[in-house]
Amino acid sequence: MTSCLRTTALSLTTVALLASSPALAQEGSTLDKVLERGYLVLGTGSTNAPWHFKSVDDKLQGFDVDMGRVVAKALFGDPDKIEYVTQSSDARIPNITTGKVDLTCQFMTVTGERAQQVAFTIPYYREGVGLMLKADGPYADYAALKAAGSDVTVSVLQNVYAEDMVHAALPEATVDQYESVDLIYQALESGRADAVATDQSSLAWYMTQNPDRYVDAGYGWNPQSYSCAVARGDHDWLQFVNTALHEAMTGVEFDFYAASFKTWFGAELAPPQIGFPVEYK
């Protein structure tokens, strides 16, 4: 089954359901419902390291999962009070608009189009795209790739703007789109592609898992914000999740956020400066 059809079908479903969604906002805030229920229903994926994936003992883990845990901790003082709904990337918006999840944290890029369908929280990560090459491959770096023009094939995760994204850095390159992260790496490994273009966080994670086999081409572009998302029209709930995320990045839960950041991206964060709030600098 092609992904294109899948996406189209999901979009149609979403559109059909958006028409009936304003009624949902009337029934009290999700915040109260979640508190009464005693656990958070978090939508996320299970197949993309280091964002959301399964450990050897079959537990969901990753940076997205930790953001959900930040919210659960703010709600119940216990980061484990979460029921996970594993969903494909295509299901992120439909599952929010149909109320199957309270909150989705699944490396969701903030765009104007999406913001018309769901309400985004404040960003918890700024992603950029990078290029990864084989260490012993024919191209040494970004300059070599660019010079090779249309001879270069770049494997990329399937997305509506994937083609444009690659062409912003390599205007003539051939773009091959794949369904999942492991397949874009497989394409590089098997020689179907000369470079992988994907999020730098994923590349960094993959290169630390496979030391010395790959190199970063040394060029980054395409900044994008990652935010969690909730249903539109529930200001209380959005405000609550925003507060929880904000304090994880700047306040009392900073250690939780920094520990997670270190685990998944391998970098130490300096604590926010004490005194005048960093937000207003």
């Binding site: 399964k54 149909t98 999942s180 790496y185 497989q186």
Partner: protein, 221 residues
């Protein structure tokens, strides 16, 4: 050699996850095939013997379901049903969608098998004084069943393969489980091969079962 050992080691680490996925795939398929077959027999009977009204309604149902991609049925049963107040979880919604899809195929198989029996037999049965019910039970159905089996096995195997589509709505069947393992160890070729092998084993089991029933129902010669 060390690659193979590494692969075996990874399989061993993921053994429970693989077994859980396999178990879920088998349960989804078994439920969908069983429910779909029962419903499908009713569909087939309606298409063959129903009055014009029943026949038209069932004909629209069959054509609509058969003409719709399984994925669309899966998404519809998960999202659209919940919008009208029937809140099925992902597993239930998935089984429902597959069972409905299966029923439309089995319905056509049953209709085809019944209509392939020459009219003369029904007339002969009538001539020796059998009621329609007796004709159906002793003359038509036993022959139709034998006709149906090979195509039914085909449909059952299709259902097992269609169960992979349930990963889209988050049912942790074998394919999604495999993808979860691959996202951790990036051994995509090896683990997709393993998943392919397991799907083959399930479908081979169905085929053997079909052959067994064929032998049991064969006309003694």
């Amino acid at each position: 050699m060390s690659d193979l050992l590494h692969f075996l080691d990874q399989i061993w680490l993921a053994r429970y996850v693989i077994l859980k996925g396999l178990g879920l795939t088998v349960s989804i398929s078994a439920l969908a095939i069983a429910a779909g077959s029962v419903l499908g027999i009713l569909v087939g009977l309606s298409l063959t013997y129903g009055n014009i009204l029943l026949r038209s309604v069932v004909r629209i149902y069959t054509d609509f379901v058969r003409g719709t991609p399984v994925l669309v049925l899966v998404l519809a049963s998960f999202y659209i049903l919940s919008a009208v107040g029937i809140d099925l979880n992902a597993f239930q919604a998935g089984v429902l969608a597959l069972a409905v899809f299966c029923s439309s195929h089995v319905g056509e198989i049953v209709r085809g098998a019944l209509q392939a029996i020459p009219k003369g037999q029904t007339e002969a049965a009538k001539a020796i004084g059998l009621t329609f019910r007796q004709t159906f039970v002793s003359v038509l159905w036993p022959q139709a069943l034998r006709q149906m089996l090979p195509t039914w096995v085909n449909t059952a195997a299709e259902m097992v393969k269609a169960s992979t589509l349930l990963s889209v709505i988050g049912v942790a069947e074998l394919l999604l489980r495999t993808q979860e393992i691959i996202s951790r160890n990036f051994m995509s070729l090896q683990f997709y091969f393993l998943a392919g092998l397991l799907y083959f084993v399930i479908n081979y089991g169905i085929e053997r079962f079909g052959k067994y029933v064929e032998r049991k129902t064969a006309v003694p010669s």
